[in-house]
Symmetry: C2
Subunit: 348 residues, 2 copies
């Protein structure tokens, strides 16, 4: 009998960050596709759109008017999923019916006054401005007594449920620590207690040595396809220094994060020569007033495209009911991404 070979045989990989597993079916990439095809991103957007509620000077849904901002602009979400003044309370009936009220603050960050840009099309300095706002917001929101977790994220592209193409991200901060960061916290804590080092610093050391999933690196951050990646071109940006949050980043390190963010998204756009959709977000220490030496700052990228600008991977059926599953291996995705030009296709 043949030996088990991860490039060829169906297998499961363990996600050390969450404690869950992913099913990898490398042989399945040959499957034909007769299913849904997404709209291509052909439309060219104007620099300013009078209908856009994020453009400078325009009126928003709540009736407020945006200032004539020149770089980034942050405001409280007009349709916040979480509100600061929700009354405290819970409804508990035995073990099976448990609810508790939740407080929080939701914000929107416009990345640029230009309606037609995206992160990979912005200058390095402009992306540094975005990272600055993240750090400032993480600190300010985190200092509030009732905010114990700050989730910074970006939905990019209509296929990712983004309801406005103006370049922007969001922050949802809450009293509770949400499910996903909580899984990572438990795994990181167990590892740190055992080894006295963060899980991701040991992981990074080994990944750099193996050099099979490294997509890009600079002095302060490494971009890689996690060993346990679920999405076809999933990536993670990890800080070289084991810092628990944005709060600890120096100016140099912030510039390094901006560079990694911009570089990765340029590769993404270049892959299918399209504006590459994704959900991305930072995972970092809760702001619950405790020390979190176990936490290691990182940023996840979950992009859905699989075969082309119009065919995505659907996380449905088996994935929803049983287990995440992927077709191409993260090693193959890495090879494809890292060999792409580092100049955006629109500027070549």
């Amino acid at each position: 009998m043949q030996d088990f070979n991860m490039e060829e045989h169906p297998h499961r990989r363990y996600n050390a960050l969450t404690g869950e597993w992913v099913l990898v079916s490398p042989h399945r990439a040959k499957r034909p596709w007769q299913g849904q095809v997404e709209k291509g991103q052909v439309e060219k957007r104007p620099e300013y759109d009078a209908q856009c509620y994020l453009c400078p000077g325009n009126e928003r849904a709540g009736g407020e008017k945006n200032p004539d901002y020149k770089s980034t602009y942050t405001f409280v979400n007009d349709f916040s999923a979480l509100l600061p003044d929700t009354p405290q309370g819970e409804e508990i009936e035995g073990e099976l019916f448990r609810a508790e009220s939740e407080q929080g603050i939701c914000k929107v960050i416009c990345f640029s006054p230009r309606h037609d840009l995206t992160i990979p099309e912005m200058s390095h300095e402009a992306v540094c401005g975005v990272v600055d706002v993240w750090q400032k917001e993480y600190r300010e929101l985190g200092q509030k007594k009732f905010i114990n977790y700050v989730q910074i994220f970006e939905n990019k592209g209509a296929v990712m449920g983004c309801s406005n193409p103006h370049p922007h991200g969001q922050i949802w901060s809450s009293r509770s620590i949400p499910v996903e960061p909580m899984k990572e916290q438990l795994q990181q804590m167990a590892y740190f207690k055992k080894h006295g080092r963060t899980l991701l610093s040991d992981y990074l050391t080994q990944e750099l040595e193996k050099d099979q999933r490294i997509i890009y690196k600079n002095d302060h951050f490494v971009v890689l396809a996690p060993y346990w990646a679920v999405w076809p071109f999933e990536a993670m940006i990890v800080s070289r220094r084991p810092v628990p949050s944005l709060d600890h980043l120096s100016e140099y390190e912030k510039s390094g994060l901006a560079d990694a963010y911009r570089h990765l998204t340029i590769l993404y756009d270049n892959l299918f020569e399209t504006s590459f959709p994704y959900s991305a977000g930072l995972h970092q220490a809760p702001t619950d007033g405790r020390e979190h030496p176990e936490w290691h700052l990182h940023m996840h990228f979950y992009p859905p495209l699989l075969r082309s600008a119009t065919v995505k991977k659907f996380m449905v059926g088996y994935e929803m009911l049983a287990n995440p599953q992927r077709d191409i291996t993260p090693e193959t995705s890495t090879r494809r991404l890292k060999e792409l030009p580092s100049v955006h296709y629109k500027f070549r």
Copy 2:
């Protein structure tokens, strides 16, 4: 200060089946939508499609020819994600790099020879035929020594990644117990050990008493919107008798399951007068040779539509990185579903 009220205030609910939480933001349903709009389901399909690889008599991708089947038809998936003959093996390097090969069998079940039908448009007898095949396949696959879990599911609609509209479901069976059933197993086991009754039988008793989330019931099965539902119109079919799997169902009970399945999907179609997309699947005891008195057979329905036939809920950004979130409450969804006519809109 006002009292906490679940119909009005953002809150978290505990999912007793998985041990995870969902964020509910009831006030957020008013948000306008400028995002992606799905294609409507206008196309009328022929009873037979010469291009369809699932229609009777047609040739499939692998070159095999479908028989001229008259009710259901089951075959091994031509693009199986899992294969029975994958060599056993693992690759383990410390705690952070762990992979193991995985064996399994993937099957496709055609629900009907008619290319133009879906479950809610089929007769009760025809849907009974589908449940019969599920029971038979669960038994047969489960008896194989290397199959420890049998996941039966259906992806319906292009928006759910279904690559062929011919009415069909799938079975992916595997050596490992996948992530989601494993979460439910741990929760159900802890509950059963403590109370000597299944978690879902106690849950069902309380839901029937409260009568706030019951969508439909017959003598053997209850259809409800789980207290902890994530998707806007998520539903669960639960057996009244605490049976661990399909294997235990009598003919009457199978007919009850078919009736519940058909009834729920008719309500779904009637909601927006469209062919309502969803992923659905059965959760039941592993076939690992152990007794599983803690397991209680049920079927989940995860439908994405939110506001209309063309606007869906996107589980992206915050949901992927932090926590599932919903806008309308399951109680509101229940009220909307249960008041709909029980005759399919196409047949009225």
